[in-house]
Symmetry: C2
Subunit: 249 residues, 2 copies
DNA sequence: AAAATAGTGTCTCTTAGACACTATTCC
DNA sequence: GGAATAGTGTCTAAGAGACACTATTTT
């Protein structure tokens, strides 16, 4: 049973509390497309949006979650089995109408999952209730529960923005990767081609990757494999990929 | 009296809800220093942190606040009388220990106030309970209630970061300003000098300001006055003020 | 004329992008 | 050798910083 640690506040404070949840937009590159992990809500007609696709997330459990971040990590771990994925706070959404049960606010996070572990996620207990939905244009095609479409759009926008000047896509490739694979990932997220020479100069001079003594073989010249130097923080570049002059006009 | 719209959820959901608040870090340049507006908490010993300085903010009123943003705007208006200041979501902080009353989460915003209206704020009803605290280094000297020092530090970091590549300081100057005044504001926020020539080129080519047919007089050549073209959105520059090479060493 | 600040011009350096070129593997 | 991808070099253009220069006001 859950505890009622705050029950007395109802009286003490003399007013109502909003519902509070945590939701996570989990990104990965699946089949060469930027994708978001969705969970199907259960069929209980007493709950809002039965059988609809939604972001992984749910109520904070004040008995076991020490903090918002802990709650997000718990939900990430429950759905993906991962404990060390990139996780960043995205923002919060709260109003009187987003949840039919009452005034509700959610703390949204976004996470980036390496390409080589995405396959293991769907093979969980109830595989039919989990799917990777492709990002098409700047949104998902599915209609999600609550205001989750809006949250996903904000996450896509944040991701695309940051990819212009950070090394975030390095969290979306496999543990070992070639520079071409990393460039391909940047291109998938951004939705446009990048110049090979400029890309390599930027990545190598930022010193965020490290050669490993192995090569990716193929029907061509083998490519040097790299790993990330730091698994924790993204690198911030001092210029965007796109200079002002080609933006304006 | 406040309503109890969510009362039934207590039973339906079968678990406890965290306390939910909204807090705002209100920045302005006062006496040539970056400053944050603080409110003194009341003396009621039944409430946490009596008589301590804290960020303006408080509980969401589910009866009158339609959304988090509305709640932030209401609190901003209550404390400053302003309805059109720059307001941006900063992030959320939530854990079991930040509020002695129980598991609590706050949605933090930050706001930028024009220099020419900061004077009117302290002359409100209870002036002694309001003050502008200078930012010294990367924090405030005061010890604030709850985890508000932490929130202020995050706000300072966010502001400084964005000032490197956006026009945010344009919201901190008076309605009409000279380029030198705007540059001075950038320098105050960043805590370092900028080159005049490069600064002017950047601001003018971004086309975010507009000449007005007036000049700022002084014991020297009069300076052209400008206004912001758009009062809403900051401009994003494609390069930071500081290039990589001078960072890396 | 001196003081003071406004505003401009010149030069260098860094780095993105375009694009052509060389390198190394499999077939 | 041909196909394919890896990886490099060269040139140009944009924009930041350093810094010297000119401009226009008050005193």
């Amino acid at each position: 049973m859950t505890t009622y640690a705050n029950s007395k506040n109802k009286k003490t404070l003399g007013f109502d509390l909003p519902l509070t949840t945590v939701d996570i937009v989990i990104f990965a590159v699946v089949n060469e497309q930027l994708s978001v992990l969705l969970i199907k809500r259960n069929s209980d007609a007493n709950e809002p949006y039965p059988d609809q696709w939604a972001l992984p997330g749910g109520f904070i459990n004040v008995a076991i979650d020490k903090s918002l971040q802990d709650c997000a990590l718990r939900k990430l771990s429950e759905k993906t089995g991962l404990n060390n994925a990139y996780l960043e706070q995205l923002g919060s959404w709260g109003n009187s109408s987003r949840d039919p049960r009452g005034w509700s606010s959610t703390h949204a996070y976004f996470s980036l999952i390496a390409a080589d572990v995405t396959g293991t996620i769907q093979s969980g207990a109830n595989a039919v209730d989990v799917k990777w939905a492709n990002v098409v244009g700047d949104k998902l095609k599915d209609t999600l529960a609550f205001d989750h479409n809006q949250i996903v759009c904000a996450a896509i926008e944040r991701l695309r923005n940051k990819v212009e000047y950070t090394s975030l896509p390095a969290f979306l490739v496999s543990k070992e990767f070639t520079l071409s694979e990393l460039q391909k990932t940047y291109e998938i997220v951004l939705g446009r081609k990048l110049d090979k020479s400029a890309f390599r100069t930027r990545i190598l001079s930022a010193k965020l990757v490290e050669e490993v003594p192995r090569y990716r073989a193929g029907s061509n010249r083998p490519a040097q494999l790299y790993t990330l130097k730091s698994l924790l923080d993204p690198v911030i570049f001092q210029r965007t990929f796109k200079p002002l002059s080609s933006n304006s006009k």
